[in-house]
Amino acid sequence: MFTKPIHIKLFFLAVLIAALLLPLFISDAYMFQVVIMSILFAIATCAMNLIIGFTGQASLAHGAFFGIGAYGVAILTKAGVSFWLALPAAAVMAVLIGLPVGLISLRTRGHYFAIVTLCFGVIMWIVAGNWIELTGGENGIFGIAPPGDILVPLIGRIDFSSQAAQYYLALAFLLLTLWALYRIVYSVFGLTFMAVRNNEALADAVGINTFTTKLISFEAANFIAALAGGLYAIVIGAVSPSAAGYGLTFNFLIYLILGGIATLSGSVIGAFAIPILMESLQFLQDYQLLIFGALLVVVIIYFPMGFVGGLRRLNQIIADRRRRKKSEAVHVSG
């Protein structure tokens, strides 16, 4: 039921090989940075997809949890903790902070949930800008060191100060996220997420604990978002309140909707295509958000399933036409 056709599998394999070889072809350090950032945004967008796309709860606190990850890693590494400890610690922190937030906000539904989570996002953003002793206020935290070397058996010592190494680190996390989400979404447990999304009352009636389901989805999304944020802190080397702002949430939402909501590949495509498109449309710098804002409205009205959803529909239409032709041929010969 869930296996994909062979040509799609081959296509994914080709993309993976291309991604692994990519550092050989990018010479421009700035563009490389854009690609690494896209990977991190893709991780965060995938996580957003879990709660919004698959569970149907519009959590707009996503940027805040990304920020908790970023600030967590920044503060802990500045205090002398190794990055490899700080990253999981920051992600666990996001889950702990997410627990009361989820317990409160998930009692509400629909628009109310979106607004409550957005309020939480704004509070986090204000705190990041004003708790100067901890977060450095509006200036943020500078000079976050790259992760320390690690010893890997057979390969040897890996040094994470180069861009290529950070790229592979980010890519590894993206693949890990995709694998984890794939396992979740195509499991019975993932089906309960979608049951809650499609009809919460019905899901409740057939014995699904909808509240716990939503809470788990929310917390899983927060955990992954914080991981992406933690990686962001070391790739950029600095964090500022904008890394926890609701503007970031809206960006993720744009990637998610334009790429294709409730599809695993859609969030990755959206998070990759849009920032790279923005960079290549430098001459439109001032009008970028003008275009993307309008695009978001157009897509949600006419293509609510986004780019990947559009592709699927196209696929469906072609398949239908083929089937119809075949059945016509049968009728003629019969």
Partner: protein, 287 residues
């Protein structure tokens, strides 16, 4: 005591703005069931349009205000027609996402046209006077008076005119209103126009007092949402009362506790109240 009174005065002034903006939002949300998240950004646009007529074209303050209200009313009609009407019957989250798209668009539009730096229009009524030991400027008193006048005017419009009754009929029962021959689409457009025009009015009155900036709509829009949810969806008295209460909480909290965390009070209050009563203070029970 003087500090207290001064804060109360400021609170009422802020509250007046909140009340007007929340009033517009509650009309759209309660009657059309559209969570117009871009409402704060329409307020922002209203302020800039006033700036354009007043500072760029050199029209008088009242004329600029009127022009801004008319233009924003038209923007509201266009927005209802282009953005929200095609989404009727879709999952409610799509309305929300479309509203976020609109607000991103509006903010980028203001940024592209007027730039990121704050703008201010020269105060047409800068005179100050003393009353009960506190300093007031005429402009600030004007904000309070205008808000009160608008609220009273809107009340009579809703209760005493046929059009007002029509809007209320649609709010109560959309299908029923259609059956009696009310053009629901026309009512939607009018409601949107009233909502955006009142937002423009609030922005025009405040533009001589506070800087205009493209990002000013975001926080105000969220606060308006908070007020509407706390006051009960579609409840006009709730929006007005909620607006004044929020203004007072902020002014007193900002004056006595911490000015930097002024905005946290509003958002914190919402989270607290919704955690106790998930459908809002005066919200109806979920079906």
């Amino acid at each position: 005591m003087e500090l207290f009174l001064q804060q109360v005065f400021n609170g009422i002034m802020f509250g007046s703005t909140y009340a007007i903006v929340a009033l517009g939002l509650t009309l759209v949300m309660g009657i059309l069931n559209i969570p117009n998240f871009a409402h704060g950004h329409l307020y922002m646009l209203g302020g800039y349009v006033t700036y354009f007529f007043f500072a760029t074209l050199g029209l008088g303050f009242w004329l600029s205000l009127l022009a801004s209200m008319i233009i924003l009313g038209m923007v509201g009609v266009v927005m209802e027609r282009v953005v929200f009407r095609p989404l009727t019957g879709q999952p409610p989250i799509n309305d929300f996402i479309a509203a976020i798209g609109s607000l991103v668009f509006l903010e980028a539009f203001a940024l592209a046209v007027w730039g990121p730096q704050g703008l201010r229009i020269t105060n047409p009524y800068p005179e100050t006077f003393q009353f009960l030991g506190i300093t007031m400027t005429v402009q600030r008193v004007l904000v309070i008076v205008a808000a009160a006048a608008l609220i009273v005017g809107l009340h009579f419009f809703m209760k005493k005119t046929v059009l007002g009754a029509t809007i209320e009929a649609v709010a109560q029962n959309r299908e029923g209103a259609m059956l009696t021959g009310i053009n629901v689409n026309r009512v939607s457009a009018i409601t949107f126009a009233i909502s955006t025009a009142t937002a423009a009015l609030a922005a025009s009155f405040l533009s001589p007092i506070f800087m205009l900036s493209p990002s000013m709509g975001a926080i105000l829009g969220m606060k308006a949402f908070i007020i509407v949810i706390l006051g009960g969806l579609g409840s006009i008295p709730g929006a007005i009362l909620g607006g004044y209460i929020l203004g007072l909480i902020e002014a007193l909290g900002g004056g006595y506790v911490s000015a930097a965390y002024k905005n946290v009070f509003a958002f914190g209050a919402l989270i607290l109240i919704l955690s106790i009563k998930p459908t809002g203070l005066f919200g109806k029970k979920e079906a």
